[in-house]
């Protein structure tokens, strides 16, 4: 187990290096002098421009620049935002928890919808109930999240005025304030995922129900409920949990859209705001953080997988 863990982490290192290289190259994709483009919208003194050139070593060859970029990253020095002149590391530390909160609550919501729907669909195969949930799932998968978000915002926020549509709630204002702010953004992000996981739960349940151990359980006269929940469901959940874990990484990507609809103060909104102001250092770092989170999540899922399914042994 330990050797597997170590090997898995070692494999992640070249990937992380590649990610840093791509985000590094991002800055250099800009046609022309990055500093001048960064500063195009700002009135700055030549010395600020000089400091930026110095920070990114833009007067040196690219491999020196890259080495310096890596060195800065390793020291936790993520640079300074051009527009707000604040430390990027601290603004990311402020916003990342909000994005993680949103991702987890969307995931929870998706699982709460998907698992029961998938089980009912599988146990009542080809019934009206099954077709309804499959159709709903198909529509859910095909619906663009930004459209769903706008519709929810219009209906619940503007027409009925029953849910807040702006920002994040505070626990100090009571539990409802906290939860009510989460509902619409989580729904927006979670519905597509719920649809995907419903289809997966159904397929996985159907497959497990044909297995020998389920037949044995039935043959020895166990009650159907026990067969379903103790024997079938536990095994059917393995692929669902894995997929859900991997989707957690994709949820992070969806954050760009959902956070900008609901003004959620997370990493996605930070990225979009940075793009609007052409704040290249912030774009670079937030892209990097998204990718690093994604790698960590994938790593955790891989490791968790060995615990959930004891049949899998990597060493």
């Amino acid at each position: 187990m330990l050797t597997y863990l170590v090997r898995r982490i070692l494999i992640a290192i070249p990937v992380l290096l590649g990610i840093t290289f791509i985000t590094f190259a991002l800055l250099h994709l800009t046609p022309g002098d990055p500093v001048r483009i960064m500063l195009a919208t700002e009135q700055v003194t030549p010395e600020v421009a000089e400091r930026l050139t110095e920070f990114y070593s833009l007067d040196k060859p690219w491999y020196v620049q890259y080495a310096k970029y890596l060195g800065n990253l390793l020291r936790g020095n993520l640079g300074v935002s051009i527009t707000s002149r604040s430390d990027i590391a601290s603004s990311i530390a402020q916003r990342l928890p909000n994005t993680i909160l949103l991702a987890f609550s969307s995931m929870l919501l998706a699982l709460v919808i998907a698992i029961p729907a998938g089980i009912v669909s599988a146990t009542h195969r080809n019934s009206l109930l099954d077709y309804t949930s499959l159709t709903a799932a198909m529509i859910g998968v095909s619906m663009p999240s930004f459209w769903l978000g706008l519709l929810l915002l219009l209906q619940f926020g503007l027409a009925w005025k029953i849910l807040p549509i702006w920002g994040v709630g505070r626990l100090s204002n009571g539990l409802w304030d906290f939860i009510s702010h989460l509902i619409l953004p989580s729904l927006t992000m979670g519905v597509g995922l719920a649809a995907l996981l419903t289809r997966l739960t159904r397929a996985s349940m159907l497959e497990v129900l044909t297995q020998d151990y389920v037949r044995t359980a039935r043959a020895k006269g166990l009650r159907e409920r026990l067969v379903l929940y103790r024997h079938a469901l536990r095994n059917a959940m393995i692929p669902v949990i894995t997929a859900a874990g991997l989707q957690l990484g994709y949820l992070l990507g969806g954050a760009v859209i959902v956070e900008s609809i609901f003004s959620w103060p997370g990493l996605g909104r930070l990225t979009i705001q940075a793009i609007q102001k052409r704040d290249l250092p912030v774009i670079q770092v937030s892209t990097l953080i998204f990718a690093v989170c994604f790698v960590i999540v994938t790593l955790l899922v891989d490791v968790l997988y060995t615990f959930i399914d004891p049949r899998i042994r990597y060493d």
Binding site: S142, F146, F290, F294
Partner: protein
């Protein structure tokens, strides 16, 4: 020499015992077609997609108005008002006409993106699986690195740097999408490489390129077709997402995602500005998903999830 490759390919869908006697070989394609036709949702999807294609091709004849024609005297017309079936937007432009012209953008971008991604991914996957060794390691590391970015994030960041335009959308989405194809083709090549018909081709002295492209590649087409259908849907969604964020196709071009972006400032006043473009995106994605499901069942049953 091609006969070996072709025989293998045609017998493949015939099941595990597909040794490919004459009768089976002839009927495979027809059977796949029949399976597809029996799939009612796939048929429905095909009809829906065809109507989008007709809209895109004959937009000039179908659209009741010029999609760019401003009419500042009649903005925010309600759906069903005379001359404007789906109403007008903040500039008094006819929403239905804009939607009809928008299908051109979505379908073109979807096809081009998948074209770029499939060619790039397939080539790299073939090389990686066939030669193995250092090439394989390099390509697979590259795949892992690209796959480590949440798809939309990388696209958004690159678009932000390159600047928004329809050509950049196609290029960026194509370059971000290729790893799926590389993985898929590589895994097929790894099995096919060891089959007797490839060995035979090598024995009679075929070049590596010939074996890869003439013998192995045709055997990957089933899986590739299914994946392509699904990823056109993904590409269309991503294009709309970029448009919605203001990073995609630029105004005044009628693009569905951008129409939603323009509509979000007039939510209460003109809900039609966001309702219909969203429905259009959903229907086209739905139709491609239906088709993808049908194709998978017909061509590649073992992919069934």
């Amino acid at each position: 020499m091609t006969r070996f490759g072709r025989r293998r390919r045609q017998s493949e869908g015939a099941g595990p015992s597909g040794d490919g006697d004459a009768v089976r070989r002839v009927s495979h394609r027809r059977r796949a077609f029949r399976t597809f036709l029996r799939h009612r949702l796939a048929l429905l999807g095909t009809l829906m997609l065809l109507s989008f294609v007709v809209c895109a091709v004959f937009a000039d004849h179908i659209a009741p108005h010029d999609p760019l024609e401003l009419n500042l005297l009649s903005p925010f017309q309600k759906p069903g008002s005379p001359g404007h079936l789906l109403g007008t937007d903040n500039f008094g432009r006819d929403i239905l006409s804009r939607l009809i012209y928008g299908s051109r953008i979505s379908l073109t971008v979807g096809l081009v993106v998948v074209g770029i991604a499939a060619v790039l991914g397939t080539t790299l996957g073939l090389l990686s699986g066939y030669f193995g060794g250092v090439i394989d390691i390099l390509v697979m590391r590259l795949v892992e690195i690209f796959a480590a970015f949440p798809f939309l994030i990388l696209a958004v960041a690159v678009m932000a740097v390159l600047g928004p335009s329809i050509y950049n959308v196609m290029l960026v989405l194509g370059l971000v999408n290729w790893p799926i194809y590389a993985r898929l083709v590589r895994s097929r090549v790894l099995t096919l490489r060891e089959t007797p018909f490839v060995e035979a081709a090598r024995a009679v002295g075929c070049s590596n390129a010939r074996i890869m492209f003439v013998h192995i590649l045709p055997n990957c087409t089933s899986s590739l077709t299914v994946t392509a259908a699904m990823s056109i849907a993904g590409a269309i969604l991503a294009t709309a997402a970029l448009g919605f964020l203001g990073l995609g196709v630029q105004p005044p071009t009628p693009e569905w995602g951008m129409m939603l972006n323009e509509g979000k400032d007039f939510l209460r006043r003109a809900p039609q500005m966001i309702t219909y473009p969203g429905v259009a995106i959903m229907l086209i994605v739905l139709s491609l998903n239906f088709i993808g499901d049908g194709l998978r069942d017909a061509l590649d049953p073992h992919l069934r999830g």
